[in-house]
């Protein structure tokens, strides 16, 4: 198929940036979206132009690196997938495809389609962990009984890959689905209880400090999340926060 691409080009964080039109031809419907981008970049390199910078790593929907906003949706028009899992069969011959970086004040553009998502790292560092002494006497996690429902919910929350699609798609650029998932995965398990109050207070404080917006429950994040993280995690975070606040 032949396609017209409207791609956001921005030299660096301080440059203005603009959408630039490119043509790509003979694109196979079996290609992944990133392979199509590779074809474009090869074309650009061959003609002496700067290739388009974009984040990618595992290319199998696990690492959370790819981050494009394609035709007005995070990770493109298909649901439950990352950009690397999006295939060209989701488009038609002759289509014009808009490709933009994830937009949020807390995710500044570094170059072209690459954004700085280190705000998520700092939120994780604020409390998204459990403190374990790995001296060799650590208790085997399997020896702690956990109900299946709680284990399943914790596992579902833990599947968040931190790609930032929730922020990119939210009209408020809120990070509550990400933080909700990270808070939930520990709040649901006995291992996470000891630091539960500090965790939610610290992670929410860091989220606010990073400049993410306020959630207004549109639910767009849940729909666009490649891992299907549920809004229930935001509700759980709200409960955890209120519980922690009441303890002082």
């Amino acid at each position: 198929m032949d396609l017209t691409l409207k791609i956001w080009r921005q030299k660096d964080a301080n440059a203005k940036g603009k959408l630039v039109d490119y043509k790509v031809t003979d694109i196979s419907e079996h290609m992944s979206f990133l392979e199509m981008m590779d074809v474009l970049n090869e074309q650009l390199v061959n003609t002496g132009e700067e290739p388009v910078s974009f984040d990618h790593d595992c290319r199998e929907g696990i690492c959370g690196m790819c981050s494009m906003y394609i035709n007005g949706e995070a990770h493109g028009p298909d649901k439950g997938n990352t950009t690397c899992q999006l295939h060209m069969r989701s488009f038609k011959d002759g289509d014009t495809i808009h490709i933009e970086p994830f937009r949020a004040a807390a995710f500044p553009v570094i170059r072209d389609l690459v954004v700085d998502r280190s705000a998520f790292d700092r939120i994780q560092q604020a409390g998204g962990y459990i403190s374990v002494n790995t001296s060799g006497n650590t208790q085997d996690a399997n020896s702690i009984p956990i109900g299946k429902a709680a284990a399943d919910d914790a596992m579902d929350a833990a599947t968040c890959i931190g790609c930032g699609a929730c922020v990119a798609t939210c009209k408020n650029s809120s990070a509550m689905l990400f933080v909700g998932a990270k808070v939930s995965q520990y709040a649901l398990l006995p291992q996470g209880q000891v630091e539960a109050a500090d965790r939610v207070m610290d992670m929410v404080a860091q989220m606010d400090a990073e400049g993410f917006g306020n959630c207004t429950n549109t639910g767009a994040c849940e729909v666009e999340c490649p891992k299907g993280i549920s809004l229930e995690n935001i509700a759980r975070m709200n409960r955890e926060y209120l519980k922690a606040s009441s303890k002082g």
């Binding site: 007005g72 929410v204 606010d208 959630c215 429950n217 639910g219 509700a235």
Partner: protein
Amino acid sequence: MSGILSSSIAKKVSMALSAFFLMFFLLQHFAINILSVFSGNLFNQVSHFMGTNPLIQYVLQPVLIFGVVFHFVMGFILEIKNRKAQGKKYAKNNGAANSTWMSRNMILSGIVILLFVLLHFIDFWFPEINTKFIQGDWSGMHDGEFRYFQELQHKFLSPLRVGVYCLAFVFLSLHLLHGFNSAFQSVGANNKYIKGLRSFGKLYSILIPAGFIFIAIFHHFNH
């Protein structure tokens, strides 16, 4: 404590709590107004009670005013903060693919409701406050009769006013269709009862504004 109040979740929860209060107020306002369809006399008696009871006038009415002002002011604060958090806008954004129009336009429906509240205050509340608190007339009478039902009928003579009221109630319905369930989500109520609650929320959000529209149209054609 100030840290708790300034957090994003505290803002969400405070919006939700003021919304719960306003939704309860809306329900009781409707319950009283619908009486006017069945009996002008009964409507007069209940209105007089509401308008002269010291607990309602000096305790609940100020709480209501605070609730209304708080909800609007916090709504605008959140909108400004959220716009700041957005950064540059997308050249192409397909919001309809993942969220409802109502959820994305709460500020728009909220502004329409705010304008309606101002009109409603000019129509009913300011004259009431003037009569009672400035002129000192707490009798509720006009020409030897209770005035409440007469005033209601008089206001709904104008087709323009009825039209504006009906339009505002449509926006109120749109606001509630997202706001009702959003408020429960904000206080963390997302559990096995959520499906039933969502259905109830939809019913509430459609039936109450539809009821207000019915009352306005009823009095326009029956006077």
